[in-house]
């Protein structure tokens, strides 16, 4: 579908431009374009689509909701596409289903500490450098641009970011091995591609998550698989079904 929007103000964001388009379409009795969005300030990770083949558009470290139209020329044609990946089934127009990301987190992207069992905040000393590096990795907003930009549709940057965040902190050390094994297993079962060190992901990431988190993930997975080699968890099957009914197809011979 091709649409034209006139009188675009250069201070408008890309999504505000789509709002204006949608108001026009509705007024003309047509269907508006469906796109996901919420905070409009680059932190919730809801929004995201390809603009002329680049995830979140031409400006680095910027989500589409933060991208202002001053970065485009009058009369320019913009091709908008949803995130394309087998693990992100299309719902409508620019909206895709990213529950595969939630399932990766559920597989191990947490520290197992129930409410009420925590020691005093200062009982665990965290070197400033570790806190800063953990924060760099923790800044991932879960938007999926990394998957969309990767020719293999790999989720390595997303999974690596969480593994790195929790693995750097002393609180995350007790579960570091199991976490990596389970999250990587789940990631593979979801149908994401493998990482071949291309680097498109970090290039489009709105939070500039560094590629090093993938190295951290690989290292933790490798070391964890070795250390846990006698533990039944290495032969653990990933989730095959999700609570709201969407079933995964897991290949029992995939070697996970």
């Amino acid at each position: 579908m091709t649409y034209s929007v006139d009188n675009v103000n250069s201070d408008m964001s890309m999504l505000e431009c789509l709002d204006v388009l949608n108001e026009q379409l509705i007024e003309n009795g047509d269907d508006p374009v469906a796109f996901e969005h919420d905070c409009r300030e680059g932190i919730c990770g809801s929004c995201g689509f390809m603009i002329n083949g680049i995830a979140h558009g031409p400006l680095p470290a910027t989500t589409v909701c933060q991208l202002t139209m001053r970065h485009f020329r009058d009369g320019q044609e913009l091709v908008l596409e949803p995130w394309r990946a087998k693990a992100f089934p299309l719902i409508k127009d620019l909206v895709v289903d990213r529950r595969s990301f939630d399932r990766i987190i559920a597989a191990g992207g947490y520290i197992s500490v129930s409410t009420g069992s925590a020691p005093d905040g200062n009982a665990i000393l965290v070197p400033k450098e570790s806190a800063d590096r953990a924060m760099d990795a923790a800044a991932c907003i879960g938007c999926g641009a990394c998957v969309a930009a990767c020719p293999n549709a790999s989720a390595a940057l997303f999974t690596g970011a969480k593994i790195a965040h929790l693995g750097i902190l002393p609180q995350g050390k007790p579960e570091r091995d199991i976490r990596a094994i389970r999250m990587v297993t789940q990631m593979n079962a979801e149908g994401f591609g493998g990482c071949t060190n291309i680097g498109e992901c970090t290039g489009v990431c709105p939070k500039e998550i560094p590629l090093e988190v993938i190295a951290a993930m690989n290292r933790d997975y490798f070391r964890g698989s070795w250390r846990e080699r006698d533990n039944v968890v290495t032969t653990l099957r990933p989730f095959t079904e999700w609570s709201t009914g969407s079933k995964l197809k897991v290949d029992p011979h995939s070697g996970n």
């Binding site: 919420d38 409009r40 001053r70 987190i105 992207g109 129930s114 800044a139």
Partner: protein, 637 residues
């Protein structure tokens, strides 16, 4: 109707411990027999759902976004308060309690606030244990910064993304319970009604936002953590999806709505730049730690900021309030910004802006230190305005940000409908007429981690609930009403879009029920809102059908509820003939232009009961007694 807050008797320091001991418990083996619904997956909802799941209850959690991690708590920037006194500067539980009651302009319930301060220390511990990457000192301990309304440094932060990290901690705990099988998560599912059977909350009616399917979910208790209603103003710092629907439908089923006119305007947001503007972007209050607010001394001074010498600048907050300076509470800072702009001394193209200047801080601390503290905030500002705050001062203007009002709850966070609990911004408690910075994150997690898991248990242990199934007439009725409303909205096919009505409603409430209010203005507003609402139901155009993904239909239902809420807000503001916190009635101000409270006549919570559209709501007053913090004229001089 009488409101009973069920506050435990005796000294306030022991009240919560006493309540916890006296609450009935649910045997560990019996917990799995109880089902609990949590609507909303923000800080309050996710922490409640995760904790209840850990305890062994069967929990169903709902959110309208595609994932629980999208809740708007994620956008909170500046930090979370706790009375740890790590900085050794005189903080204590009592002082945090005192500052919060005073900051709320003596319109909150002392017992709730004391408990909040008490629990604040446990929250930090829990978050650190979950791996929230709080900022640290070089020695490895947690660091702090100061925030508006306080003279101590008690705010814990993770760069300018504290809300994000706290929410991710709760979200991760929630997903752990999803994996464990104790919580079933329903994303892209919106609550459209509450099911009340024999006066008890027994479930919700939902709509699947992908398939359009209308469904019912039954439970032994329902918890609403659905956030604030700032989007009634259309332009606010809220996410586009934030709405009042869940609590409004509960209100129409009998849950009293307290203090709806207590809305907070945040002083530091990026100014509006055009009509297409879809929301206002918050610049964290933590910036006021190091930034200095000023406008030109003379009206009409249109020189660029670096051409205006010191003697021609008016650092008006430092001038008027020497002891708090730029860290006065939000309502004071916002009103002062409005005054100087009304006088014609505002900056920027629209004249609706003031400067927040970091030049002195950069000179004193160095650019690197400022980058460390506020890095992402400065980048965000530059991305949106194309101005570099390291070189020119930021332009800011007040915007609607938080709502202190919400469903009335007692000390156990239960509403006037037994079995319906309300947590986080969706409830009215704790912040009175003005919320202090860094306390929303604190309240959401306090409610979700450390209060409602106990109080829901007490309710379940003391109420024998009959089994219900979907054939019950209340349920069939509720489903039919929801289906009817959806069909009605789709069938009108008028000439105006939902957004165009929403924008117009927003302008009415901003003008007459915003930073400053008058009796005449509020009466005008009520008339205009009623007229606009009538037009809405005749002339709105909602394209598409109800059977698939339809964002206009989602918005249409939410805006319909905003009309009714807006009217209640104006009625509440009209009834409260005093000024307090964020509610400023021009007829009631001191000679210096500060809020003038009337403690003799208005020291109460105004809780409103729904009597059907077109009928005046019922006012039920909960009197407020201040035994520990004596009401005084709030002064930050």
């Amino acid at each position: 109707m009488q409101l009973d807050a069920r506050i435990p008797s005796g000294p306030i320091e022991a009240a919560w411990d006493k309540a916890r001991f006296n609450m009935k418990l649910v045997n560990p083996a019996n917990k799995r027999k109880h089902s609990i619904i949590v609507v909303g997956s923000g800080l309050a909802g996710a922490s409640a759902a995760a904790t209840l799941g850990e305890l062994g209850y069967r929990v169903s959690c709902f959110c309208f976004q595609d994932s629980p991690r999208r809740a708007h708590s994620i956008a909170a920037q500046g930090g979370i308060n706790a009375a740890k006194n790590y900085q050794n500067d005189g903080d204590s539980i009592y002082r945090l309690f005192y500052d919060t009651v005073k900051g709320g302009d003596f319109r909150s319930r002392e017992a709730n606030v004391y408990r909040l301060a008490q629990i604040s220390v446990n929250i930090i511990d829990q978050c650190v244990a979950q791996g929230v990457p709080f900022a640290r000192e070089y020695g490895g301990t947690l660091t702090n910064r100061s925030f508006g309304g306080a003279q101590v440094s008690r705010t814990f932060y993770a760069r300018g993304q504290t809300g994000q990290q706290l929410l991710l901690g709760a979200y991760q705990a929630l997903e752990r319970q999803v994996q464990a099988g104790t919580v079933t998560m329903y994303p892209r599912t919106e609550m459209l009604d509450l099911i009340v059977i024999d006066d008890h909350a027994r479930g919700i009616v939902t709509r699947n936002l992908v398939t359009g399917e209308i469904d019912t979910h039954l439970a032994d208790a329902v918890i609403l953590g659905t956030g604030g209603y700032g989007n009634v103003y259309y332009l606010s710092t809220n996410a586009k999806g934030s709405n009042v629907t869940a609590i409004w439908r509960a209100h129409k089923k009998g849950a009293l709505f307290a203090n709806p006119c207590f809305t907070q305007i945040h002083p530091t947001c990026i100014p509006v730049s055009g009509d297409y503007q879809s929301k206002l972007t918050l610049m964290s209050e933590s910036l006021r730690n190091d930034g200095r607010i000023w406008v030109p001394r003379k009206k009409g001074d249109k020189r660029a900021p670096d051409e205006i010498p010191e003697e021609d600048r008016d650092y008006y907050l430092e001038r008027r309030y020497p002891s708090f300076g730029n860290l006065v509470p939000r309502d004071v800072a916002s009103r002062n910004a409005k005054y100087v702009c009304d006088e014609g001394r505002g900056v920027g193209e629209t004249g609706l802006g003031v400067y927040l200047d970091f030049a002195d801080a950069i000179q004193r601390l160095g650019r690197k230190a400022i980058e460390d503290r506020y890095g992402n905030l400065f980048e965000m500002y530059q991305r949106i305005t194309d101005e570099d705050p390291y070189k020119v001062p930021m332009r800011i203007y007040p915007a609607i940000h938080y709502t202190m009002g919400g469903l009335w709850v007692d000390y156990y966070l239960m509403s006037t409908i037994p079995g319906l609990f309300v947590v986080g911004e969706a409830n009215f408690s704790d912040h009175g007429a003005n919320r202090l910075g860094a306390s929303a994150l604190m309240q959401g997690l306090s409610d979700g981690y450390f209060i409602v898991p106990y109080t829901v248990g007490d309710y379940l242990a003391t109420n024998k609930l009959e089994r219900v199934d979907e054939s019950h007439f209340e349920i069939r009725n509720a489903v039919a009403c929801v289906e009817q409303t959806v069909q009605k909205l789709l069938s009108i096919k008028g000439r105006r879009t939902v957004d165009s009505f929403h924008r117009e409603l927003g302008k009415i409430v901003w003008e007459y029920c915003g930073m400053s209010r008058t009796a005449q203005g509020l009466e005008n507003a009520i008339q205009q809102i009623r007229q606009l609402r009538d037009e809405y139901w005749q002339n709105v155009n909602v394209p598409g059908s109800g059977e698939d993904f339809n964002q206009s239909l989602e918005k249409a239902g939410r805006v319909a509820d905003f009309f009714e809420l807006a009217e209640l807000m104006c009625i509440d503001a009209l009834e409260r003939n005093e000024s307090c916190g964020g509610h400023f009635r021009e007829e009631y101000q001191t000679a210096e232009g500060e809020a003038q409270r009337d403690d003799d006549n208005y020291s109460y919570v105004a809780a409103w009961g729904y009597r059907g559209y077109g009928n005046p709501p019922d006012l039920v007053k909960e009197p407020l007694d201040f035994e520990y913090v004596h009401p005084a004229q709030r002064s930050y001089k």
